[in-house]
């Protein structure tokens, strides 16, 4: 399989997943605000922080209002990770890999793109936001359903699995972080059980509420939710599950040693939630470390399968033919 085609499929899956996850993320906050009393100190700007885009946001907006934050996350074309930007990227990558993807993919992504662009106002204003976000999530799932039912489990499928699960794992760490950071904000005088509302919504945003209930069988407790989202073996959005998916996809691809090494490193990261450790800044550091390792894994697979740099690889491999069969070191494109 051509490296270029593999890369485009990987990015198609990542961007498509990002579209869905961005919709989910905005959805958590939207729901939270329905349930919380007015005096709760929850800022929409948290969403910018956990997505690590404070600088890009400040270049564009002076005021950290709900309207600006939601606009930045959903619609802004100066934000390369906004929902519409991601959708555009997903569409471009699918456009150029039409011959390896199921026939209807192109039509469905076009419909999704048209819908999102024509109705984006509904996403920015609060009245119809829920309906809009739900519709986006549904359409993304429709496309993933098509892949599931119509793609051969060949290399292109493995690259799609890599893109989807890497993006998913990353977003799960960010949604967890969103929950923790809300709980760490001073909220004296709150009259309700804030923790239950926040963590309930974190779970719902990942479609994991019922799964948590069935699997954990206790009330919604912050640490148990965190543990569920990190360690549950069966729910498809947990870190544990995503890493397993990444690992088995990688094992089915050629020359995978280097990438498997990164996956091993990612697997090793563990944070003990068993004892009295609270979900504090230290836990947030751990989430941050997870994100760094995920990003390292991304670089490793880029370098391993997609990037070719003529100038460098010749130095490393004086005789091309000898190494052709074995591990072949590629240098990253600058």
């Amino acid at each position: 399989m051509l490296s270029r085609v593999a890369e485009r499929i990987y990015w198609s899956a990542r961007y498509l997943e990002r579209v869905e996850n961005t919709a989910r993320l905005v959805g958590v906050y939207d729901n939270l605000l329905f349930d919380l009393p007015r005096d709760t100190n929850i800022s929409w700007f948290n969403l910018i922080k956990i997505n690590s885009c404070i600088d890009t946001f400040s270049d564009r907006y002076k005021v950290q209002t709900e309207h600006n934050v939601v606009k930045f996350l959903l619609a802004d074309d100066t934000n390369p990770s906004s929902m519409l930007s991601s959708l555009k990227q997903a569409k471009e990558n699918i456009r150029t890999t039409r011959d390896v993807l199921p026939q209807d993919t192109w039509e469905l992504i076009n419909e999704l793109d048209l819908y999102a662009r024509n109705h984006i106002r509904q996403g920015i204003n609060r009245t119809d936001r829920h309906k809009f976000l739900n519709s986006i999530i549904q359409r993304c799932q429709e496309i993933n359903g098509l892949f599931e039912g119509a793609m051969s489990r060949d290399a292109s499928w493995q690259f799609m699995t890599l893109g989807r699960n890497l993006e998913r794992a990353d977003m799960t760490t960010r949604i967890l972080d969103a929950g923790v950071s809300i709980m760490l904000q001073p909220n004296q005088g709150t009259r309700i059980n804030l923790s239950q509302v926040v963590w309930g919504n974190v779970l719902r945003s990942l479609s994991g509420y019922m799964n948590y209930r069935r699997s954990v069988r206790t009330a919604i407790v912050s640490k148990k939710v965190a543990r569920f989202l990190l360690e549950d073996e069966y729910f498809p959005r947990t870190i544990h599950f995503c890493i397993n998916e990444l690992e088995s996809a990688t094992k089915k691809l050629p020359r995978s040693k280097r990438v498997l090494k990164e996956i091993k490193a990612l697997k090793k990261l563990h944070y003990s939630l068993a004892n009295g450790n609270p979900l504090d800044e230290q836990f947030r550091d751990y989430l941050n470390q997870l994100q760094i390792n995920i990003s390292d894994l991304h670089s490793a697979l880029m370098t391993n399968w997609f990037a070719f740099n003529m100038g460098d690889h010749q130095e490393e491999t004086p005789s091309l033919k000898k190494v052709e069969q074995k591990e072949y070191p590629f240098a990253c494109q600058a």
């Binding site: 051509l2 270029r4 593999a6 456009r95 020359r255 010749q314 072949y328």
Partner: protein
């Protein structure tokens, strides 16, 4: 009935004789259509449209607002040719390509044809498509133009004439195949009633031809189709052919040439050596080391690899020299010179503007002639005398005088017509041509028929899809074999 008012006047009609009866190859087709009512015809027309959309058959048109993907314009009434006539025509096409390949090989080696005074040296020297970089190279089987699309037209006398040879990167063959696929759905009964020769072995034949060029004698040589990318007007065809042959569709950035002067493809398993490249990009973009330095479509070092004999390029760089419309005028002599045979297919009478006498004739008769630049394709930069204004004629007169070598002129042919469904109850004659595709590697092959292109506008002679042309399925009908 739909045929009642059909008349093609002074042109040769492919389906209907001047007295209004069907030609032999079209008898059953004409009968079949006569039995359909307006509703039935309309239903079939719609079926064709839906099929085209479903199959995603499109081509790209460049406009100022950007590139638009358009559905392929298709007329459901096929054009028929009798099998014996096609047999002779195919022989003529093979003969022509064989001679042209010998000519190209000679030009890049001893240039005997110039030494023997058949072709003046300056014509080659001034040809835009002669590539000095190719001198002395020996492509497999001595063949340079492996895939040729030759445009044939029929004049009022019904005779096939060669209008031009496309030896660089001829396109259209995927549409020929798709036209047949559509017609099988739209007129399925006809394939039982009539003996229509199949044409779908083209991808197989193309694959075998490319295989015969491989420099490495190995079990499974690596063959690729090289496309300029999604924004090229023929991208659909590139993807189609790659898919049909089961080979990779690559862009320039997917390939590299290593120190060993071999071409490699960048895959997830590491570099894989490429043996044969069916390239769909022009010579000048092939290799920035040798040609256009700013080209990002090509592969640096490609020419090095080709010259070293480590990779086959189809068509070979430099093959376009025989595509020049001035050279075209000499093809009958070229056939006689190399093959010692009389040409089977005649050329259209051609006036070379570089010859003072012929130029004077052309300038005096601009309102009657078709003037073409020697090195353009796609029907661009042409003057169609009878359809032109005085002002356009004056512009061309100036162009010709400025650069006579770059222009040729031909009499305006009375192109043949075929019945075309204009609306569900109107059948009218429209002008058409035919582009068969000829392959030459170790063996030769001619498509069964070819791509019939139709000028959809009434009276128009321009059949190019970029300029409002459409197309029809082409049937080679065996009426002997019952």
């Amino acid at each position: 009935m739909i045929w009642d008012n059909y008349q093609s006047e002074q042109h040769y009609d492919e389906l209907i004789t001047p007295t209004g009866s069907a030609r032999d190859s079209a008898t059953k087709l004409v009968e079949h259509i006569a039995q359909m009512d307006e509703k039935d015809l309309d239903r079939r027309r719609q079926m064709a449209e839906v099929t085209i959309q479903e199959m995603g058959i499109s081509f790209t048109v460049y406009t100022e607002e950007g590139n638009i993907d358009r559905a392929w314009p298709f007329d459901i009434i096929p054009r028929t040719i009798s099998a014996p006539l096609w047999k002779t025509t195919a022989e003529g096409l093979t003969q022509r390509l064989k001679a042209l390949n010998m000519f190209i090989d000679d030009l890049y080696h001893e240039q005997k044809i110039i030494k023997d005074g058949i072709i003046p040296e300056h014509i080659i020297k001034e040809s835009k498509n002669f590539r000095p970089e190719c001198v002395g190279v020996n492509p497999a089987h001595g063949v340079w133009a492996h895939i040729c699309g030759t445009d044939l037209v029929r004049d009022a006398d019904g005779q096939f004439y060669v209008l031009e040879d496309n030896l660089r990167v001829p396109s259209g063959v995927s549409y020929m195949l798709e036209n047949r696929a559509i017609t099988k759905r739209v007129l399925p009964e006809m394939f039982e009633k009539e003996n229509i020769l199949p044409l779908d072995d083209y991808p197989e034949q193309l694959f075998d031809m490319l295989l015969s060029l491989s420099p490495r004698q190995i079990e499974e040589p690596e063959i690729v189709v090289l496309t300029p990318g999604i924004f090229n007007s023929a991208y659909f065809e590139h993807a189609f052919l790659a898919q049909q042959m089961g080979v990779e569709l690559v862009e320039g950035s997917d390939l590299f040439v290593d120190d060993d002067d071999c071409v490699y493809m960048k895959t997830i398993s590491g570099p894989e050596r490429v043996d044969v490249i069916y390239r769909r990009i022009d010579d000048l973009f092939l290799d920035p080391e040798v040609f256009d330095k700013d080209s990002v479509l090509g592969v640096p070092g490609m020419m090095r690899a080709w010259k070293a004999g480590n990779v086959a390029l189809a068509n070979a760089p430099g093959a376009g020299v025989a595509d020049d419309k001035v050279i075209y005028a000499y093809v009958p002599q070229i056939i006689e010179y190399y093959l010692n045979e009389a040409p089977i297919l005649p050329n259209v009478e051609t006036f070379l503007c570089e010859d003072p006498e012929q130029r004077a004739y052309v300038l005096d008769n601009l309102d009657k002639l078709v003037v073409k630049p020697a090195n353009e394709s796609g029907g661009y930069g042409m003057l169609i005398g009878p359809h032109s204004t005085k002002k356009e004629q004056a512009t061309f007169a100036a162009l010709i005088q400025e650069n006579p070598r770059n222009y040729i002129a031909q009499p305006t042919l009375s192109l043949s017509t075929a019945p075309t469904l204009i609306s569900s109850n109107i059948m009218e004659p429209r002008h058409l041509d035919l582009r068969p595709f000829i392959l030459q590697g170790k063996n030769t092959y001619v498509t069964t028929g070819g791509l019939t292109r139709v000028a959809m506008k009434k009276g128009s002679l321009v059949v190019n899809s970029s300029q409002g042309g459409g197309s029809k399925d082409t049937w080679i009908v065996d009426t002997e074999d019952k």
